[in-house]
């Protein structure tokens, strides 16, 4: 085992390639714009408890469906709640849903994909067939069905979205593991007697990381839209807790009287999803120059 410490650390050339990729990402203006958008929403969501805004469920019956004004910058909703406050607190639900769903998809998808690619044989065959079956059901329909069976709540929506997004990560992790397994350094690690766990931890995982990072970033965008869609249908965040999707669902009934109720949540979803998409595209360009 001590011999392994004299082996080159998980692909030094890979580390060099990676730092070049990060440098390229920093010079990509659209990716940086995307990162800026994401950072803005993350900061706003984190600062929600300390910002000088009314509580998201605080009602003011004297200010029902008021248009944007100096007092209520983005107006009020059908029971006099401040739309800006609900937008800011809603950012927490949306970002949390995006990140947690993808964490679930990664947490289940990477181990299954790596095991399939590493062990091959019948393990691979079983995992691959299950993945294909899951991929056959359209993402949102599967998420709606799962959310329906699990029951309407933000937690269940995140589980449903995570499980629906998982097959993509299994397939990606498996494919990348198969590629890494053909590398000389993995063969050398086997030759010096490293355990399977050590090989996976030290050589496979670090080398399959970049494409998974790209996919995860793009999937957060999809997951945010999926959470908004489920909340819009009443299967995600439950009232009175705010969520951009559920705000749109309520706003639909007041389009003529209070159009601002529908406008802001949609713009927020669009901007945060655009941010993740731009960042994901930038990461893909940086880590896989062939995509250019």
């Amino acid at each position: 085992m001590s011999t392994a410490s004299h082996m080159p650390a998980a692909g030094l050339p890979t580390a060099r390639r990676r730092s070049r990729a990060w440098a390229q990402l920093r010079t990509n203006p659209s990716a940086m714009f995307g990162a800026g958008l994401v950072a803005f929403f993350v900061v706003v969501a984190l600062l929600a408890p300390v910002l000088p805004i009314p509580g998201p469920a605080e009602t003011d019956w004297a200010a029902v469906r008021k248009a944007p004004s100096a007092e209520h910058w983005l107006g009020t909703d059908e029971i006099g709640r401040d739309v800006l406050s609900r937008m800011i607190w809603g950012a927490q639900a949306s970002l949390l849903a995006g990140v947690v769903s993808v964490a679930i998809a990664l947490g289940l998808g990477i181990p299954l994909g790596v095991v399939a690619g590493y062990r091959r044989g019948w393990t691979d065959a079983v995992i691959s067939r299950i993945t294909e079956a899951l991929l056959a059901a359209p993402f949102l329909i599967l998420a709606i069905a799962l959310a329906a069976f699990l029951g309407p709540s933000l937690r269940n929506a995140m589980i449903a979205i995570g499980l629906s997004a998982m097959p993509v990560f299994i397939r990606l992790a498996r494919g990348q593991t198969l590629l890494v397994m053909t590398e000389d350094y993995v063969e050398s690690a086997h030759a010096i007697g490293l355990t399977n766990g050590a090989i996976i931890w030290r050589y496979v995982l670090p080398n399959i990381f970049p494409p998974l990072l790209v996919q995860a970033t793009l999937t957060i965008a999809t997951a945010i839209i999926a959470e908004a869609s489920l909340s819009f249908l009443g299967l995600g965040q439950q009232p009175p807790a705010p969520s951009w999707g559920s705000m749109l669902n309520t706003a639909k009934a007041f389009l003529e009287q209070a159009p601002w109720m529908a406008m802001w949540p949609g713009i927020a979803i669009f901007l945060v999803v655009l941010g993740f998409n731009l960042l994901g595209d930038g990461l893909r360009d940086a880590f896989d120059p062939r995509e250019n």
Binding site: A133, L134, F139, I141, A145, L146, G151, A262, G266, L274
Partner: protein, 314 residues
């Protein structure tokens, strides 16, 4: 070609069986006794036992599964709890509505996405390319249900040009049917147009660099002929397959679009079934969409072989 399709269908059978296992066990995720949901207010033990026997809920799980899949193979996906109609009949009734919406959305997506992709590739690196890419990325980032709400506000409420909701069967009044479906189809089509634009651009970029396009230019052919007759024709192979594979996105998008525009289609059926706890319908829909999705994948592979002679001989 037939033997190729036959082989692909054989390979798809285990996948379909696995999907049926998921769909069946999804219902078992439900907390509580399903018979209580079936019986409603009536908690008479004799009735509960009768329902358990009727739906074979006292059988071991694997027996329940084989009974369910046996019935499904004979076209019996169960009965809707709400309407008491067979699930397959319900799906059959709603499907034409969604197909009309999907076809119109696909036409809009092709009309916008393909030319935009061609122009973007042809003018690579110019402001036109930049604008097309920004628009495509925006199309992918905008939630289509919000776009639907905004269009209702502008086109229906403010301008009064198109109806905000409803459905008119195409055969009853084709013009009114198209008018009613135009806005929902546009909403559903824009996201797909963005995907198509990116694929068309990528395919065209590859083709525009090829030797035969250079040769065509060297022969003195006009740029339109070079782009349309030589480049686009070859770039069409991946574009056609992408269009086939967009089926899943179309169905998923239809769920929300039909909800916003109150269109009585397949998507609205799913949402209504979810809220009425009509689980047989939800199971039936997931199973049918998955099978249809696999069929579209096989069609995409077959089309790819038809359009690409090199694949045919491999």
């Amino acid at each position: 070609m037939l033997s190729f399709i036959g082989r692909r269908i054989l390979i798809a059978i285990p996948t379909v069986l696995l999907i049926s296992v998921f769909v069946f066990f999804m219902q078992k995720l439900l907390p509580g006794d399903p018979v209580l949901a079936l019986a409603g207010e009536d908690r008479n033990p004799e009735i509960l036992e009768f329902l358990r026997e009727k739906y074979r809920l006292n059988d071991p799980l694997y027996v329940q599964y084989f009974t369910w899949i046996g019935n499904a193979l004979q076209g019996d996906l169960g009965i809707s709890l709400r309407t008491q109609q067979p699930v397959l009949t319900l799906i059959g009734q709603k499907l034409p509505v969604t197909i009309q919406l999907a076809v119109m959305a696909l036409i809009i997506a092709i009309v916008i996405g393909v030319p935009a992709g061609i122009v973007s590739a042809y003018r690579k690196g110019t402001w036109v390319d930049w604008l097309a890419n920004i628009l495509a990325l925006s199309g992918l980032s905008v939630p289509n249900f919000w776009l639907g709400i905004m269009l209702i506000l502008l086109v229906s409420v403010k301008l009064g040009w198109l109806p905000a909701s409803g459905y008119q069967p195409f055969l009853d009044d084709p013009l009114q049917s198209i008018r009613t479906m135009l806005m929902p189809a546009f909403v559903l089509g824009t996201g797909l147009a963005a995907t198509l634009m990116r694929h068309t651009r990528s395919a065209m970029l590859g083709v525009l660099k090829s030797d035969y396009v250079r040769t065509a230019r060297a022969k003195g052919l006009s740029e339109t002929t070079v782009v349309v007759k030589h480049a686009l024709r070859n770039a069409l192979v991946p574009i056609v397959t992408v269009v086939t594979l967009l089926f899943g996105e179309l169905l998923a998008g239809a769920v929300l679009t039909e909800q916003i525009f109150t269109i009585p289609g397949f998507g609205k059926l799913v949402v209504d079934a979810v809220f009425n706890r009509d689980y047989a319908v939800v199971q039936g829909i997931v199973l049918c969409t998955a099978i249809a999705f696999i069929a579209m994948n096989i069609l995409a592979d077959a089309l790819y072989r038809v359009l690409n002679p090199r694949m045919r001989n491999s």
